[in-house]
Symmetry: C2
Subunit: 429 residues, 2 copies
């Protein structure tokens, strides 16, 4: 039986889960692969701290891992940009393959890391960075290799999906939804990175880079979170046959252009993504041969993440350690596609205008929209129950350019009939 | 650039789709893998027939493929048991790797084929046999390798799912649903294999064999199709918060027992599988580390099938042709699990008793159920609108053993109040 030695960098919840899972599945993995996995070293900040699981090889010095020629694979579980990035580069330069769950470092430095890994002939695997245990990276890389992917649409963040589900199903506010999410462990104490869509954008960056073989910088992705979503708009969505989800979208526009964006969107209730509730994640895509497809599962948590990391370790053992011809988790040749600006994107829109109810209000709004070439399916007024003189005009537009929408909205926002700023939510059909 | 020569056995819709897809994606595949794929030979019954795509190397003699040392991989697209099985064995014995989409041959002879392939050191890949282009085989084999799978639940046949969706959404009969399916190309002219659940059982056989590393014979799987499903039961399901789907189920019972069955079942409307409509397929599963997961997509069609076949060809090229340590598509060691008989299974049930309405009818039925240790959640009577003296008693049971249900139903069927046979539909929650 071949033995492979592994090092972990970090031993928090995911690291502990990985140690546990490896113990549980050791026999099965040995029988299936002929490989014995051994965790030889674990880098921690405090080597004196008591741990949940029995582990040996604890160290607080990265050199003990870098200098150990016996270690073939290192698993980076530190998170954040530094020192994770420097450690990954040093590990590669010491001849080790790297498995990482680190979305942020891949979104910011993925192509740099890939180029160094490729030069040195080592691999960086990152199945766990997107949708945790759901094998989306592996599926895009191998199972769908024969496809030209034209659309990726994902619910990639469990925290925000949980909050939006609770708002929609229980009629509670965003703040109360967030409190519930924190109570059940689906949200971090500081949820800003989730709520603002940044975590989703990191994952979209990784998926788009792999699927379209392009280098994506974080600033290439228009990113809008869910903090502006009000219960009123969730109710209106329901009335119009939609649900609101925080979507990550990568869409081919013609052969050479790409739309990359993260924002809340209304999707029809019959869309497969509409049934993805609570903390679950899903990736929906179009391939030219397979047509529509969706992957669904838990996108976070110690054990789902450990599951993906262990599958990466096994793949490295069975392929890359002995064989040079495998498919990299990264594209090995970068293609060229122009990522269009948000202003150039075209979409259907739901618009809500909080107004003081007067005759002619809908006419004024519709006229300004018309002046900006925005056609509308319909406009309806609804009154605020307690204050009869206040209301909302709700408009569903036909396909309209983002730049025109912006200009029209800014003009309408200045009208004296407005008692607040207009709400804009894009619609994906 | 390395060149790999391929032979196709059969050139119907899938074969033609494969030739087309390979032409479309040739550049991309060469850039990504460094491999040039060439279809050198195509075995057909009638070599004079005119074809949709320009192909060369047509032959009607299998020896032209078996004897050609240059051919590394053969793709079996003949379908059915013979001559497909003999050809697959001969191809392996001639030293070729085999890719097949043939569910029937795998369900009946999978373990025989695997044992011969393993002895000879060749591979048989079959991603396209289940869920076509959706990479479920690859995901179970690699992405979920770190998991102990305890439940597989699939909608694996597009024809029956299309029919049930139309019945449920349009209120049409099974026969009219079938006519629609045939009209849109989602059903074969002879739909018996689909309607009777046999196609679904073949696919469950393949999935269970891989996931639990066991040999499954077709007769090990209880198989019940959708031909007994009436519109009335679909409406009742809806009233009780369920939808009816033809499910393939493999469930671990304790450590050493397994339940394998194909039958129509009611599932709650909020279950992820409930949203799988029309011709789409899905595989839902539980892994001890990943938790719940689902794969969703088209389970049939020339291009989705070709997509999976091409991914198998590429995997064979990049791994098995040069490297001996890869994971087989088959288990490489068989485990031991006893497949329990249908009589031993335990389930919730929906029961419908067509009755002549008289006082005491529910009492009689409930008493017999009680005598067989079947507890019920509730029993309601509904009358046939036009004939007021006729009705149905609908019962939802708690968990009950199949053998007891059978005995109770056979007793109730003999009561003079019954105007037809009882309908039994199991419920999966």
């Amino acid at each position: 039986m071949k033995q492979v030695s592994i090092a972990l960098l970090g031993c928090g919840q995911v690291g502990t889960g990985l140690v546990k899972l490896l113990q549980q599945q050791r026999n099965f993995i040995e029988r299936r692969t002929g490989i014995r996995l051994r965790i030889k070293r674990i880098l921690v900040r405090d080597s004196a701290k008591k741990r949940q699981v029995r582990i040996s090889g604890i160290t607080d010095n990265i050199r003990h891992i870098l200098d150990d020629k016996d270690i073939d694979i290192a698993v980076e579980l530190i998170g954040g940009i530094e020192p994770a990035r420097s450690y990954i580069l040093k590990l590669l330069q010491s001849g080790k393959h790297v498995v990482t769950a680190n979305k942020a470092v891949l979104a910011h430095y993925g192509s740099e890391i890939q180029e160094i890994a490729q030069r040195i002939g080592r691999e960086v695997y990152y199945e766990s960075a997107v949708c945790a245990g759901v094998p989306v990276i592996r599926s895009i890389k191998e199972g769908l290799l024969a496809n030209r992917i034209s659309l990726l649409m994902g619910i990639l963040n469990g925290t925000t999906n949980y909050i939006l589900s609770r708002m929609s199903e229980e009629g509670i506010s965003l703040n109360n939804g967030l409190k519930q999410a924190q109570q059940y462990g689906f949200a971090e104490p500081d949820p800003a990175i989730d709520l603002q869509g940044i975590d989703t954008a990191h994952k979209l960056n990784i998926l788009a880079s792999l699927s379209f073989a392009i280098k994506v910088r974080p600033q290439d992705i228009y990113t809008e979170g869910i903090t502006g979503i009000e219960l009123e708009d969730i109710k209106n969505a329901n009335e119009f046959g939609y649900v609101i989800k925080l979507l990550a979208i990568a869409r081919e526009i013609g052969r050479n252009k790409l739309e990359l964006k993260v924002h809340p969107a209304m999707i029809p209730k019959v869309h497969p993504l509409a049934a993805v509730r609570n903390e679950f994640n899903a990736l929906y895509l179009h391939g030219n041969a397979v047509g529509e497809m969706m992957f669904y599962g838990k996108g976070a948590g110690a054990m789902p993440t450990a599951s993906a990391i262990l599958s990466d370790i096994i793949e490295l053992c069975t392929k890359s350690l002995t064989y040079s011809h495998q498919l990299s988790h990264f594209p090995n040749a970068w293609g060229h596609k122009r990522i269009i600006s948000m202003d150039e994107t075209v979409s259907l829109h739901y618009l809500r205008f909080p107004i003081v109810d007067k005759p002619g209000v809908i006419g004024k709004i519709a006229t300004i929209l018309g002046n900006h070439n925005i056609s509308i399916y319909g406009a309806t007024a609804s009154l605020v129950p307690v204050k009869k003189a206040l209301g909302n005009v709700r408009v569903l537009t036909k396909k309209a350019k983002e730049s025109e929408i912006k200009r029209a909205i800014s003009e309408i926002n200045r009208l004296p009939i407005m008692r607040g700023r207009a709400v804009i939510i894009r619609i994906e059909e």
